[in-house]
Amino acid sequence: MSPKTLYDKIWDAHLAHEAEDGTSLLYIDRHLVHEVTSPQAFEGLRMANRTVRAPDKTIAVPDHNVPTTPDRVNGIENPESRIQVEALDKNAEDFGIHYYPVNDVRQGIVHIVGPEQGWTLPGMTVVCGDSHTATHGAFGALAHGIGTSEVEHVLATQTLIQRKGKNMKVEITGKLAPGVTAKDITLSVIGATGTAGGTGYVIEYCGEAIRDLSMEGRMTVCNMAIEGGARAGLIAPDEKTFAYVQGRPHAPKGAQWEAALTWWKTLYSDDDAHWDKVVTLKGEDIAPVVTWGTSPEDVLPINAEVPDPSSFAGGKVDAARRALDYMGLRPGQKLSDVEIDTVFIGSCTNGRIEDLRAAAEILKGKKIAVKRAMIVPGSGLVRAQAEEEGLADIFKEAGFEWRLAGCSMCLAMNPDQLSPGERCAATSNRNFEGRQGRGGRTHLMSPAMAAAAAVTGRLTDVREMM
C-alpha cells in the first residue's frame, strides 16, 4: 500500500462514492449546527419535504447571537436574535436532533461544546456552518466549515460533495520560549504563509512544539487554519488526545473504547507520505505576537514597529495603507506604545479553561487600566470550572466583567460590540474591518497578552510581567 497522510487515511475511510472525474461523496460523522447559518437549511428541507437523515449524528447549540449578560435567563431582548434562537429550538425539536438550549449549563460555543461533550473523536469527519470548525482537527478529525446550502445537503444526505484537497505539512520544531503560546504559533504561521497560503490544502500541524501543546492549545492552533486559507487543519491523535476524550459523555465506553483506540492509533501520516507543500518554523523563533492591521496575516512580534505600507509588494501596498488608516496607526510607531480601550478574552479560539488560567495568572492581584474588559467563557462548563478554581474571583477583582458563554464580541452579533474608533485587545480570530463593531479596531493576541494589555492599558510584552 502506498504511504498516506493522516488526511488521506480519514478521507479514504469516509468515501461513500467517487465519480470518474474525482467528484466524491464524503460521509459526515458529526454535523454541528448553530442558529445563524441553519434556519434557511431547515426551511429548505421542509419546502422539499425532506428529513434529517441522521439526527443522532447532528448536534445543535445556539451561540452566535445569544447575549452573555446574566439577564439572558429572562429571554433575549433583540427580536431578530430571539427569532433565530427560537427557530433553532423548534428545528431541533421537530427534527429530533441533540440540542443544548441557551439556558442549559452545557451550552456554549459550538466548537467548545463538541469536544467537551465527547462528540468530536479522532478519525471523524466533522462539519458545521461555521469556518472555525477546523478547531476539531485538534483531535485528528477532518473538520471544516461549510455554507448553508451544504448544511442542508448534510442534513438531507449525511454526505458532502467534495474534491480531495492537497496535503500541507506545517512543522513547528523545538520548544517554545516562556510567554509564547499556541495562539502565537498559529498567528505566526499565518504571518509566514499569508491568509491565502493554505487555500486548497488541508494542513497537518506537527513537530515537537505541537506535541508539547495541551489539547486546548492544539484546538487554538487548528481553529485558525481557516485564517491561513486552509479549510481544515489537523493534528495526529496521541495519548493526550485519548486522555482528553476518555470518559466524556458521548465518548465510546468499554469494548467500544478499546476498538476505537486500536483504530485511532493508526491515525498518523506515514513516514514517506507525499506532501504538496511544507512549511517549517522553529519554535524557539516564535515570539509573543499581535496583529497591527485588518487581516490575520498582519502579524508581528510585540517588540516590533508598525510597518511602512511601501515595504510591501503588489496589492498589499494599498491594503496596508488602508489598514493603517482604518486602525489609526502610523508607520514606525512602536506596537508596545499603542493604547487600548477594551479587552475581550473569549471565543472559539481562546475561550477554554487553559486560556482563562493563563489570563488569571497575569491578572492575579492586579487592576485593569482600560475602559472596559470582559471575559466570556466558551461554555457554561468552562465558566463553572473557572468559578470552582477561583479564576472568576481574580477576574472580577481585577475589574473584568464575568459573562455567560457565547461567541460575544468575536463577531459582535449580540450586544457586545465596539464603538467607532474603540481599540480592542482581543483573543479572537479576526481583525477584519468592522468585525467587532463598525469602526472598531481589533488587535489579535493570546489570552496572556490580552491580560497584560488590560493591566497596562497598552499593547504589552507579557514577558515583562512574568
Binding site: 447571537n65 433565530q84 469556518s131 451544504e150 445537503h153 487555500t199 486548497g200 491594503a319 468592522g434
Partner: protein, 201 residues
C-alpha cells in the same frame, strides 16, 4: 437554482485584496432567517455612512455601476467567515459573476450553490479586466460558461478553468441534494460498512 449560461454586462471594479465576507455582508444582517433581501446591504459599511446615507465614492453607488452584473476584485476574494449570506447578498444585488485572481474555498463553493460564477484568472489578466471595468458602461464584459471564456469589448478573450461537475450543475441549474439522494444506495451501503468498522461513531 437559477441557471448560468452566458452573461454580458457592466463590471464594477473593486481593486482590493483579501475582501472578506464580513465586508461583503456585515454580521448585523446575519440575523435573518431568509435568503432574500440582502442586496441592499451588500458591502454595507463601505457603501453607507453612519447615518445610512450612500457614500458617493463607493463603486456600487456610482451611477454607471448601479446595474453591474460582474465584479472584478483582488486576490483571495471572499476570505473569512463561511456565511452564505455573502453570495446571497451579491446575487440579490444583481451580480452573477465575480472575477479575481483567487478565492477563499468556502466562498468559492457557496457561489456555485447560488447560481453565481466565480472566475479565477491570472493577475495580469485580472489587471486588464480591472481597467476595462473602470470604463464603466462603455465597456461590457462577456462571460460564456459553456465555452469557458471571458471577453472584453476590445475582443480580448481569456479562457478560464472550472470544475466539470460544478459547471454542469450551474449550466443546468441543478439541485445537488436531488443528485446526491439519487445515490442513496451508495450511502446506505457505506453506512452499513461503517457501522461494522467503527461502531462507536
Amino acid at each position: 437554482m437559477e441557471k448560468f449560461e452566458k452573461l454580458s454586462g457592466i463590471a464594477a471594479p473593486l481593486p482590493l485584496i483579501n475582501v472578506d465576507t464580513d465586508m461583503i455582508i456585515p454580521k448585523q444582517f446575519l440575523k435573518t432567517i431568509k435568503r432574500s433581501g440582502l442586496g441592499v446591504n451588500l458591502f454595507d459599511e463601505m457603501r453607507y455612512d453612519d447615518d445610512g446615507n450612500e457614500i458617493p465614492d463607493f463603486v456600487l453607488n456610482k451611477p454607471q455601476y448601479r446595474d453591474a452584473q460582474i465584479l472584478v476584485a483582488g486576490d483571495n476574494f471572499g476570505c473569512g467567515s463561511s456565511r452564505e449570506h455573502a453570495p446571497w447578498a451579491i446575487k440579490d444585488f444583481g451580480i452573477r459573476c465575480v472575477i479575481a485572481p483567487s478565492y477563499a474555498d468556502i466562498f468559492y463553493n457557496n457561489c456555485f450553490k447560488n447560481g453565481i460564477l466565480p472566475i479565477a484568472l491570472p493577475q495580469d489578466q485580472v489587471d486588464v479586466l480591472m481597467k476595462e471595468a473602470e470604463k464603466g458602461a462603455n465597456a461590457r464584459i462577456e462571460v460564456d460558461l459553456e465555452a469557458q471564456t471571458v471577453s472584453t469589448s476590445d475582443g480580448e478573450v481569456f479562457p478560464f478553468e472550472v470544475d466539470a461537475f460544478k459547471k454542469h450543475c450551474l449550466l443546468e441549474g441543478l439541485d445537488d441534494i436531488g443528485l446526491t439522494l439519487a445515490k442513496a444506495d451508495a450511502i446506505d451501503s457505506f453506512e452499513a460498512r461503517a457501522a461494522q468498522a467503527r461502531p462507536w461513531v
